[in-house]
């Protein structure tokens, strides 16, 4: 055999041996999570706005996307208050100086009570500033986990108000003609940012740390007094409540009253079957896949006239869990369990008012239509993702979540 042939064979074997090491090395964590210095360098082409400043700068009362309110969802404006837009869209310039915002993610979608919605929190002068991000990304928590600070380049996106709640968004046309009150809903509204655009706009700042999230520890009756139940129907009045949206709160001194809302009216839950609409004593009975969140009420232990809605999606993993104290016999024991409820503060607000938790009064539509339906939206319960509800009874026993038991409630 000639020498050349030996070299040839050796070459082949060496090449084979290298087969398993053909993949690039793993990216370093330093290259993924930006430091403050890197943030400063990265944002040199523009300005980082505090969240409230960002809203003040770019969110107008009527939005720049449509010339008049008729192009938005028709519910956005009540004829009695033509200057008050509950739905609006302001597009942000694609070109020009970069517009940045940053915030720490305060939500988690693992338990299913948040879906394609992220709330970020920025601490400015020791206080929370918050903004909702509407992103078309399922299981977003896998990529954008709670506690992760993100930097967003907002150029080309939009800021809008959906039921007066500010959110980073994209203009979306809703032409769902088959929804209830469809004639009032069709039109432009803030919608979800396509995932590709969101990913391209976002950078990670540091590693996630949920301990850096700040929350308002507050008694329910104090919170009730803090949040305007009937805000002044003026631009300033709307702005006042808007600034409260998205706050991470831990509400103390609360108990589940065993009530739900039926067109704004409080009614007692009577069954333990989550397949029964509305009146089941679980967190989120079915809506028949329509998908609106269900409200269950908490009241203040020390002042039971102060109430707040706890909002749960029927798609949440814990939707079929009994309210604390509830069981197959009903809700009689709910009042025996006191404790805290954590979550994101918000509301639903439009001028129709027939959503759960609203306070519709058919005799006086105009006044009731702007009553806020304040709600706190937990991120989960113990055992199902993030634990946001803690209750105990007079004996000091901790509430253990119990799931609806189909062996008891067998549908005939």
């Amino acid at each position: 055999m000639k020498t050349n042939n030996y070299w040839y064979i050796i070459l082949c074997i060496v090449a084979l041996a290298t087969m398993s090491s053909c993949e690039p090395s793993a990216p370093s964590q330093d290259s993924i999570f930006m430091t403050e210095a890197q943030v400063a360098e990265y944002t040199k082409d523009g300005q980082i706005y505090h969240l409230n400043d960002f809203l003040d700068t770019y969110m107008t009362e009527k939005g720049n996307y449509a010339s008049d309110s008729s192009q938005y969802r028709t519910r956005s404006v009540d004829s009695n208050y033509p200057d008050i837009y509950l739905f609006s869209i302001d597009t942000l310039p694609t070109n020009g100086p970069a517009i940045y915002i940053r915030g720490r993610i305060a939500t988690d979608d693992f338990a299913g009570n948040y879906y394609k919605s992220i709330v970020i929190q920025e601490i400015v002068n020791g206080d929370q500033q918050n903004l909702r991000l509407s992103v078309d990304l399922g299981s977003a928590g896998g990529m954008y986990p709670m506690g992760q600070e993100i930097l967003i380049r907002c150029n080309g996106l939009a800021i809008g108000r959906y039921a007066n709640q500010p959110q980073l968004c994209m203009p979306t046309y809703n032409n769902n003609l088959y929804a209830s009150h469809a004639d009032e809903k069709v039109g432009w509204a803030p919608g979800r940012i396509p995932s590709a655009m969101f990913r391209n706009a976002t950078r990670f700042v540091g590693k996630p740390d949920v301990n850096l999230l700040q929350y308002d520890l507050i008694d329910l009756k104090d919170l009730y007094d803090l949040i305007p139940q009937t805000p002044a129907i003026t631009v300033a009045g709307m702005d006042e409540v808007r600034k409260l949206d998205g706050r991470l709160v831990v509400i103390t001194d609360a108990y589940f009253s065993g009530e739900y809302s039926d067109y704004g009216d409080l009614k007692p839950c009577t069954t333990g079957n989550p397949e029964d609409d509305k009146n089941a004593n679980v967190f989120g009975p079915t809506t028949g896949n329509i998908g609106y969140p269900q409200g269950r009420f908490i009241r203040s232990v020390t002042d039971n006239t102060k109430v707040l809605t706890v909002s749960t999606s029927e798609y949440a993993k814990y939707a079929a869990y009994y309210l604390p104290g509830a069981d197959t016999t009903g809700v009689a024991h709910c009042k025996d369990w006191h404790g805290t409820v954590a979550g994101i503060l918000g509301w639903y607000m439009d001028n129709a008012g027939d959503f759960p938790g609203s306070s519709k009064d058919s005799k006086n539509e105009n006044i009731k239509s702007y009553k806020l339906n304040w709600a706190v939206t937990p991120r989960g319960i113990p055992g199902i993702g993030v634990a946001d509800i803690y209750m105990e009874n007079a004996d000091g026993e901790e509430w253990v979540p119990q799931e609806y038991d189909p062996k008891v409630y067998v549908t005939e």
Binding site: N5, A15, S139, G142, M146, P171, W188, R199
Partner: protein
């Protein structure tokens, strides 16, 4: 006395020999002067043939004394014809016949081997493999079509690859589990696989019973290889970019031993360039082959080993939208950048170390025995990204495409809005993605729908504005790396962040490796007897013990700390699991486990997880064949009987298996999920054994050859057989439990309950061939017909209605294949040959199929509206009747002009036309319930039809949808009206908004522009003879010379279907909004554009 008699006998025999007309000769390689082993020598006029022995010698006895054309054909050589006038009653002898190497055919064989190996497989397990035969085959049709039509994934007679029979030295190498042959085992070993017997379907064979497909037997004895060295290099722009190889053969040494060996290395590193063939693909393969053979006078012993450890990236079929947005048919979503370098997520690792021992023994002149045994390991695995509670990372996932934000407006081609703005692709088909821009009548602003259709035909749903849509399109057209490719760094980021939040949690993303290994022990015994005049008897016994081994390991944690071994779908759906069964959270924690014996196991790199089971299969086949040969007629028949069995054994006991068994316990069918060990499933044991299923399959074939004269003949073949289902199709969810198709024989030992149904596929087939063979012109015309009944098939997909991954097991599939294939080769003077081939087929489903659909995570599929019981397996009729089987172009024709100059110049150019190519239909989209609202098991689709009943028939032969209604008074509109081609449900809304064409017609893949149906290939080669029997050959083969990038070779409908949604109307009535059938559009494969293969080979 004894010596005297012997002497007399010898004398008589010698005189006899002297008195007869005979011919002998020797065939050698012109370049090397080495003998050519296995060359076929045929006397054209008398239609007698033989093959050369290890010395290249042949002899023919009992000939007619006449003028004869002696045709000599051998793999890798140009056929030669010698004219001889045979003298009566005397031995005739030819001088050594020199064969010239056909370097074009040799190169094409190598390309073909590579093409076959690189069959593309997508998420749903569909493959684009094509039957492979040698371009060096002596059959004009096969030798032309095998290479020229491989570009467009032509399949012989439309058959799936599992009806082709592949043998090595008489050993059956088609796997028992899938029936396929792994060409990767011989990756790049073109010399090792050079010599083979290729037999047309149903013809009499001498190494196996055969079947309706071609039978190929690779012959690897060392004595076949000419003595000397051969080294070569090649370059190509295909998936691998370069190849180097070396072959050495000793020839038959004086001691009777012969040795041969080959090494072949093919490679391509990652190339950071988009829009090229093999985009994002790495390729490394080192093939080795060694054979030793000892030749005695009447015996041969061969020892063979080969293997080709291979690492190769894969590419994917994608939607037309992705092709158009990226502007390239080579767009590959499987790769992305990591640290600035290319990385593919789908890497196949395969290695098939094989050892074979074969022994031939000529008992005497009339009796021959062949015995062979082999052991074959097949290590095959493919990597893929898995994820848990995190966004789908696939760049071409439908929610990542611009159409997701846009696709509604063309859902209704008949609508006023859609109708005015429909766009069609180049094949005249609707784009499965929309370009229609809706208009808000009040503002004039543009908008897009998101894919839902209301009961009055309006398109509904939210959609982004045009600016956003255009921005998304721009991102795609610019091939943004983070959007159009896998964003590896984001996957790492998710895991790093997850580690920080909870270091003990399951990684968000991993790269897993799915192993499908096979271990096979194979044996074969073959006996041939020609003792009786005109009769050749052959008998064989084949045995195979094999085990398919299936499990997953972690290739790369992608920065994560560990992966927790639970089922992500079951975990996500735990709420429903609890609601349906009353399971406690503790129960659920067990149900989601993949391995109940090791709950919540933290898996690290390299460890097994997910599933770990084996399919044990035994197979024994006995056959015999009698062939009578007379002057005018040859007749043969053959009988075979095969026994096989299969058994699933798992070392991981799955939580869903226990869960389903528990549910089935009350119905007395627990054993269906648990097999033989129903009462023992809670016992920790190393392996868990399922039921053993047995099959007995008879087969018969017969044929007759009528020799009109020496140059013209008619052949008629017929075959009837039954075929056991392959293991991959027999289990309805084999990763989870032991449940098999209803039709399969089951014996429950616990209760002694036996169930037997005929599960096997029944096949009848026949063909009629006219064959002619003149010095100037030769060829054949064949008509064929095959009908099969009761076939089985398994598909898996994500079901939007059940909201989980489901398996759909089909049975009672009837198919018909019929057509004509023709070939003619005409010698045009000294240098040119013109070859024409054509194949026109009609391959269709001739029945509707039945299906069982069940959720892989054990979730119920629906709820019985009367009993309120949850239904875990839904049964329905699948409306396949009349549809084309998607099996490559069914109308094909080629014209090939070949040039051969005695100074060893070769060239050819082939022009091919292809037509009648159809999209593969997803059975899930053709379930009867979608059109009637009611499945055949009585359960309603989407579960809201109350107790209505309907009988609907949809014919696919014509274009009309026929619905007959047997309805009750409660829902008078149900099923009665067809609203824009969709059957209405009880609420008067369409069950599924299927565009008319999609529902009643099968999508054609054929280009609208006839010019785009042509593919032109060309080759040129030169063989240089050098001193001292050395030679140098150079060959360039160019495929698709005109760079036709509009040729769809195949494609399939996505099985996933959108679900309808309900909305509540103000009057508290449900309104149903049906989803757009285009939401999950079809995916396509394109033929490569111009590609070349340049090789240089030096022999010394």
């Amino acid at each position: 006395m004894k010596h005297y008699l012997s002497l007399m006998f010898a004398l008589v025999m010698s005189l006899t020999a002297l008195a007869q007309t005979s011919l002998k000769g020797r065939v050698i390689d012109e370049a090397t002067q080495q003998p050519v082993v296995g060359a076929k020598v045929t006397l054209a006029n008398q239609n007698i043939s033989t093959t050369t022995n290890a010395s290249g010698e042949f002899s023919l006895l009992y000939l007619e004394a006449t003028d004869e054309d002696v045709i000599i054909e051998a793999d890798g050589y140009v056929a030669a014809i010698e004219l001889i006038s045979l003298k009566a009653d005397s031995p005739n002898e030819l001088d050594a016949i020199s064969l010239q190497q056909d370097i074009v055919a040799q190169t094409q064989d190598e390309i073909l081997l590579n093409l076959t190996e690189e069959e593309m497989t997508d998420d749903e397990g569909r493959s684009q493999s094509q039957a492979s035969s040698s371009s060096a085959s002596t059959d004009v049709f096969n030798s032309t079509t095998s290479f020229a039509w491989s570009t467009v994934r032509y399949r012989n007679r439309g058959y799936q690859s599992n009806v082709e029979n592949y043998y090595i030295e008489g050993l059956n190498f088609s796997t028992a589990e899938r029936g396929s042959f792994n060409f990767s085992a011989m990756g790049g070993l073109n010399d090792a696989s050079r010599y083979k017997e290729v037999l047309n379907p149903m013809e009499a064979t001498n190494f196996t019973f055969g079947g309706i497909g071609q039978s190929t037997n690779y012959l690897m004895g060392a004595s076949r290889y000419a003595q000397g060295w051969k080294v070569g290099v090649a370059g190509t722009n295909r998936n691998y970019k370069a190849r180097v190889n070396a072959t050495y053969a000793s020839g038959v040494l004086s001691n009777g031993w012969a040795f041969a060996a080959q090494l072949a290395f093919r490679f391509s590193p990652y190339i950071d360039q988009k829009n090229i063939i093999g985009e994002g693909i790495q390729y490394y393969s080192l093939g080795y082959f060694f054979t030793a053979e000892k030749v005695w006078e009447n015996k041969r012993l061969r020892l063979i080993t080969f293997g080709a450890p291979t690492l190769r990236g894969q590419n994917a079929a994608v939607t037309q939208e992705a092709y158009d947005l990226t502007g390239s048919i080579y767009y590959n979503p499987y790769w992305g950048y990591q640290n600035g370098k290319v990385r593919n997520s789908r890497n196949v690792q395969s290695y098939d170390p094989t050892i074979i021992a074969a022994f031939d023994y000529d008992i005497d002149e009339q009796q021959k025995i062949k015995v062979a045994a082999g052991y074959h390991f097949s290590f095959y695995s493919n990597s893929a990204i898995n994820f848990y509670n995190a966004p789908d990372p696939r760049p071409d996932y439908y929610r990542n495409m611009p159409s997701y934000y846009w696709d509604g407006q063309i859902a209704n081609p008949n609508s006023e809005k859609g109708g005015a703005n429909q766009l069609f692709d180049e094949n005249g088909n609707h784009y499965p993605w929309g370009l229609f821009i809706g208009e808000d009548a009040s503002t004039g602003q543009h908008y897009m729908g998101s894919g839902f259709v209301g009961h009055d035909g309006n398109l509904v749903g939210p959609s982004v504005d045009e600016t956003a849509y255009n921005h998304l399109v721009d991102i795609w057209q610019a091939r943004d790396n983070k959007t159009t490719q896998i964003d590896w760094e984001n996957l790492y980021a998710a895991n790093y962040a997850n580690n920080a939040n909870n270091p003990n949690a399951s990684a968000r993303y991993i790269l897993e490796r799915r192993h499908n290994d096979i271990h096979e022990a194979i044996a074969n015994f073959n006996y041939t007897n020609t003792k009786y005049d005109h009769l050749k008897m052959t008998a064989g016994l084949e045995g195979k013990v094999s085990q398919g081994v299936h499990y997953k390991t972690i290739d790369d944690l992608l920065g994560g700390n560990q992966w927790i071994d639970i089922d992500a779908f079951a975990d996500r759906d735990m709420k429903e699991l609890a609601s349906n069964t009353g399971y406690t959270q503790e129960d659920i924690r067990l149900v989601v486990q993949n391995d109940l014996y090791h709950p919540d196991k933290a898996i690290k790199t390299g460890q097994r997880f997910g599933y770990d089971y084996r399919i044990n299969m035994d197979k024994v086949k006995a056959w015999f064949q009698n062939e009578w040969s007379f002057n005018e007629v040859d007749v043969y028949y053959a009988l075979a009987v095969e026994y096989s069995n299969m058994q699933r054994v798992t070392s991981m006991f799955n939580g869903r298996q226990a869960y389903l068994a528990t549910l089935a316990y009350g119905r007395g069918t627990m054993w269906k999920y648990l097999g033989d060990n129903s009462q023992q499933y809670q016992t920790v044991r190393p392996f868990y054994y399922g039921n053993t299923h047995h099959f007995v399959e008879p087969a018969f074939k017969a044929g007759v050859i009528y020799k009109i004269n020496g140059r013209n003949r008619l052949k008629l073949n017929a075959l009837a057989e039954t075929r056991a289902p392959y293991a991959r199709d027999a289990y309805i969810s084999q990763r989870i439990h032991d449940r098999v198709l209803d039709e399969i024989y089951v014996h429950d030992k616990a209760t002694n309950l036996k169930e037997f149904y005929a599960a096997s596929e029944k096949v009848v087939s026949g063909d009629l061939t006219y064959e002619f063979n003149y010095p100037i012109v030769r060829g054949r015309v064949t008509g064929f017909f095959t009908q099969s009944w009761n076939g089985t098939e398994l598909n898996g997909y994500y079901d939007d209605e059940a909201r989980t991954f489901v398996n759909q097991a089909l049975s009672e599939i009837d198919k018909r294949y019929m057509g004509v294939e023709a070939a003619i080769a005409v010698k045009l003077g000294t240098y040119f040959t013109l070859t024409g081939v054509a194949s026109v087929g009609d391959y269709r489903y001739t029945s509707n199929a039945t299906s069982i659909t069940s959720a892989e995570n054990g979730m119920p599929m629906t709820q019985d509206l009367v009993t309120q019981e949850h239904v875990f397996e839904v049964r329905d009729k699948v409306l396949l009747k009349g549809l084309h089987i998607s099996t490559g172009p069914q109308a094909n024709a080629s014209l090939k002009l070949s040039f051969f100059h005695p100074k060893m110049w070769f060239a050819d150019v082939t022009v091919s036309y292809h037509d009648w190519n159809y999209l593969s239909v997803a059975p899930s989209r053709r379930m009867q319930g979608l059109y009637t609202g009611m499945r055949t098991d009585g359960h309603a689709v989407n579960g809201w039809f109350g107790d209505s009943y309907a009988n609907a028939i949809m014919t696919t032969d014509g274009r009309e949808l026929e619905v007959t209604v047997d309805n009750d008074a409660n829902s008078p509109t149900f099923g009665q009206a067809i609203y824009q081609n969709a059957v209405l449900d009880a609420n008067g809304v369409p069950v599924l908004k299927y565009p008319y064409n999609l529902m009643t017609q099968q999508e054609s893949l054929v280009a609208t522009n006839p010019l785009n149906r042509f593919i032109i290939d060309a080759s040129v080669g030169k063989l240089l003879y050098l001193p001292n029997r050395q030679s140098l050959s150079i060959n360039l083969s160019v495929s698709n010379l005109t760079n036709n990038t509009h040729f769809k070779t195949g494609g399939y409908q996505q099985a996933r279907l959108p679900r309808a949604v309900r909305q509540q109307q103000p009057d508290n009535q449900n309104s149903v909004i049906t989803a757009n059938a285009w939401k999950y559009p079809s995916k396509y494969y394109y033929a490569w554009g111009v590609n070349f293969f340049l090789s240089v080979t030096y022999k010394f």
